[in-house]
Symmetry: C2
Subunit: 612 residues, 2 copies
């Protein structure tokens, strides 16, 4: 019975048992909500238990899960999340996120929408090859999924990308609500059914044995029509049926009933997996997703940090931690295969790459979510305060700074830095390590105490940067309320040539950005600019994020609404000087945009994207 329960957060090696810091959390007695009178006052000591699952992940077959309590987690951060405004990621960033999702143990990774652009096709293909063929614990390997509209070209492109994975999946969709069928598709019900049926069959015919089908806008479709079309696609070979609440409109009981009715009324439903996909427009996506699971859905579509269009999707961390905390007690014994100790790192990586920050009071991963655990001095700490804590910070991979084993100072060497970064969850070597070490030394010269957060910020800045087209060498500014702001900037181009320019502006950043523009000569609009100090104290490292849009930029077609939208690009920078950090972020965003341009040049068609 002593199966592997968790992996070491850093080494990734399996641990035989997971020991929460607080012995109380090891208690196995569960709090009882039933209205029986507790005769034993001691029973009140039974508190929520949060622990890694002791169950093995069941073998994967597309249309069946051997354990009826196991719930698959389908992560669509790279598809639905990446299409939020400004969240565009480079291929390298997508690969990093996919690797992280595999560490988390996500069952299915929706890696993109290959028909939308050459860049997306390449990214999905790379993820299928690299992550979809990884060697992981217990024989686990994530399914790599590609999205496709219901047409042969999309399905061919999706297959071209995902077929390299050990477990490839095609996810195809078509709208089933009257308004969409009449006005967007201009198709009758029968035509829609025929399209869905034939395209699912086509996907199977070209060799894909794992096909997911979504009736778009299911929440507002006629239920009888839903049962019919779903029954037809099952006959055609669909193995997973996903039910999206596209406009985030349902309440939990209602969405649960929809899933239950589909389970009860769809012919052949016992041979497939039912899935949920809940948008968050009313703040109910986590609750709707859980209601769907309780009603029989065994795949839950989620994103890290809940990112996505508008108010986003159900967030992986909330859904997974709710199942972990309450699954056995009140959610029908459901459980997932997620290794929750990788949640925090996944959250930070997605925050960094997508440029979508997480509010301090975000559940599970917000900065304040464990704020009573912060460095604030707590004189009168209550003995049993852990009973206020329903999740242990370590359980999501949050290790407090003062517990870290390795302390770095300005005399620390390259090896100590590498070991420290490994402790923080980053495996770096070679040039990445050299670059980080150089910057670490320059910060160590100026700053007394280098915290873990400082290192992570520097790491993000060095490693999460897109491929260099332009590189910032120097910047110098003079500004203030008494005179004109003036900036001088020196950039190095891809061939190593130096370019120097100066400009005036309304402030130091404005002046510096104008100086960059004079060198780079690509007209862009700055859409967003934000900055945070990553550590306490006025000598903290500042982390800047910008979001830009090229004026002659990439247009893409929204597969659902048919709207033309413009791709936007984010960049991040970190430095102790906010002007330098701002310029690094701006140059990073420009580099990201220019590396996309190169890919786009290969493919003359506009990109498209989809919402399901």
């Amino acid at each position: 019975m002593a199966s592997i329960t968790a992996n070491h957060p850093i080494s990734g090696k399996p641990l035989i048992s997971f020991r929460p810091k607080n012995p109380l959390l090891q208690t196995q007695t569960l709090f009882n909500f039933k209205p029986s009178i507790s005769k034993h006052s001691n029973s009140s000591f039974s508190i929520p238990v949060v622990r890694c699952s002791i169950r093995r992940r069941p073998e994967y077959t597309p249309s069946h899960i051997p354990d009826p309590n196991y719930v698959r987690i389908f992560d669509t951060t790279l598809r639905d999340g990446e299409q939020s405004p400004g969240a565009t990621m480079t291929t390298k960033e997508k690969l990093d996120v996919a690797r992280q999702l595999a560490k988390l143990g996500v069952d299915i990774i929706e890696a993109g929408f290959p028909a939308s652009s050459e860049a997306d096709l390449e990214a999905v293909k790379l993820i299928a090859k690299e992550v979809g063929n990884g060697v992981y614990e217990e024989g686990y390997v994530p399914v790599i999924c590609g999205l496709a509209r219901c047409n042969k070209k999309d399905i061919d492109k999706a297959w071209e990308a995902v077929k390299y994975a050990k477990k490839p999946r095609i996810h195809t969709f078509i709208a089933t609500s009257e308004i969409h069928m009449n006005y967007k598709l201009k198709m009758s019900r029968d035509q829609v059914v025929e399209k869905a049926r034939s395209m699912v069959a086509y996907a199977r015919s070209i060799g894909c044995e794992d096909v997911e089908f979504s009736p778009e806008d299911a929440g507002r479709s006629d239920p009888e029509f839903l049962y019919h079309i779903l029954g037809e696609v099952i006959k055609a070979g669909a193995t997973t049926l996903n039910i999206p609440d596209t406009v985030g409109y349902t309440v939990p009981e209602e969405f649960g009933q929809l899933i239950a009715k589909i389970k009860a009324n769809t012919p052949g439903v016992e041979d497939v997996i039912i899935s949920t996909h809940c948008q968050n427009d009313l703040g109910l996506s986590t609750a709707n997703t859980l209601a769907g699971a309780c009603a029989g859905a065994r795949q839950l579509e989620v994103t890290i940090n809940g990112i996505g269009e508008r108010a986003g999707n159900a967030s992986l961390e909330e859904v997974v931690m709710a199942l972990k905390c309450r699954g056995e007690q009140v959610l029908g014994g459901l459980y997932t295969g997620i290794n929750t100790q990788h949640i925090l790192m996944s959250s930070k990586m997605v925050e960094e790459y997508s440029g979508l920050h997480v509010q301090p009071h975000k559940a599970i991963v917000g900065a304040n979510a464990f704020a009573h655990e912060s460095g604030i001095h707590q004189d009168g700490m209550l003995k049993h305060k852990d009973t206020y804590e329903i999740i242990s910070p370590e359980d999501i991979g949050l290790n407090r700074a003062n517990e870290s084993g390795i302390v770095l100072g300005k005399l620390s060497g390259r090896h100590a830095l590498q070991a420290k970064m490994l402790e923080l969850g980053y495996e770096i070597e070679g040039k990445e390590l050299d670059d980080l070490f150089w910057r670490f030394k320059s910060v160590a010269e100026k700053k007394k105490k280098i915290t873990d957060d400082d290192l992570v910020a520097l790491m993000s800045d060095e490693v999460f940067q897109p491929q260099f087209v332009w590189q910032l060498q120097n910047v110098q500014v003079t500004s203030g309320s008494l005179g004109l702001s003036t900036a001088t900037v020196k950039l190095i181009d891809a061939d190593g040539r130096e370019h120097i320019s100066c400009s005036v502006g309304t402030g130091p950043v404005d002046a510096a950005y104008k100086a960059v523009d004079l060198i780079v000569k690509v007209p862009v609009t700055l859409l967003e600019y934000s900055m945070n100090a990553v550590t306490q104290g006025i000598d903290a490292i500042a982390s800047t994020r910008v979001l830009i849009r090229g004026e002659n930029g990439h247009t893409s077609t929204h597969a659902v609404t048919g709207e033309t939208i413009h791709r936007t690009f984010s960049g991040t920078g970190a430095d102790m000087d906010i002007v330098i950090s701002s310029v690094r972020a701006y140059v990073g965003a420009l580099n990201k945009m220019m590396s996309f341009r190169k890919l786009m040049a290969k493919n003359n068609k506009p990109e498209s994207s989809a919402v399901v």
Copy 2:
């Protein structure tokens, strides 16, 4: 039947009918989720209806609501929200928020915890006098509530503060879970019941006819004991019973069942109002709150933006908009008296004052929540795209910039500015108008296009500043990667004297803050620093927020955990130059801290705060 349905978002005058921009949204036919077959394909045109309530707010009596479908909204932004890390507000800020809550039409405003400090007592008293005696539409006046632990001193202080309101309420609480009774209170069940009973009776005896009682940690208390203690406090005169899920641990069905069981088993419960108070640790607070309402709760405790300790509370905007969008269809016909067109302004004000930013994908009030409505050019706009929009942006007070009637330029006068600010929802005059006008002119000189967001940022900076102790006159910096950062700062003190200082630093902000420190000579720790550009373009106005803690700062005692915590203070600044905006924010935070010190000097006891 043509009763008043909404107030004008700017003038506050009643509108007889509310006209959503999209005629489709006026459709009254509701989508039917029942599994009947829709024979009429036209029925699919029936879409969610979002409209202001056509019902009158029922008369207020503490323990009874004449309309069984009416749900009271109890806002605790100023009590539970304000105790989140860094969210400390000044008395003036609290008064502004309370006024805004009255515009929203919140039924009960929990204005603070008067026993915690002299400052809190004064703030609650001021709100009771000013907001609790306002003249509003339809005879509405908000109840002003003060929190008190179950002891005479706390109750006396609460009454001393709230008694000035037309409708005063005392909210008292005691823990009822075994672990809290044994370890924190060190009291038996009988002692806890006796304490609760006698203190509710005491609150009634001193003249308060509206008494709310909360059994803290109700979600983990023995249900039978809950029915007993609640029955006793009803006999003692409690008029509202609030059921807190203190650790944010329940799932919707479970929390709904708890409310239903309390309604079914508590003696005398038919004579009181049951209330919910849901924390958000698992991301389920909105769903839990709605489940509580469906199970019979008729008061919902919420905060603006969902702020609060850890992952915060149920957010007012999500709960209210869910009831508004889905109340008639799937939530038992429940409705509130909230004027939703003030939601966005309330959200921005609380974000500004609390320093707790809202993530872009936050439901309802996040920057992306209506992002398909943004200024991005939409070529292929779909005709029926409004069906993707379950809430009209105008419904929460989001008016797009290009629809504004008044366009300002650098030749615009004081009157045009005042009219524009009124249009944006701000009533300003006198010195506030003069100061804003002066800064508007200086921005208009430098910037081609002044947007509404620019004006709101300047407004926040001018008007949302705490009382001046120190005022920034000038700052000048030189910095960059090539040399040492140097800053010179000139501040004016309360007596009008000029102070000049210079300093070097690791960056321009570090240098400028050190120069300020040399003048102000109050040791503080900078805890957080963040900046956002409020408009697009590199010549945008930057808005900076800082959070500081005095090194010899104010300690306060957490009423529940008994921990000693330190008060922290936020400051904001706005300018086109990020260094100037950073210094303005820092000086603002210092001013806020120093005005608290003055109040503290009156009252030698440490402050305390509470979580329910």
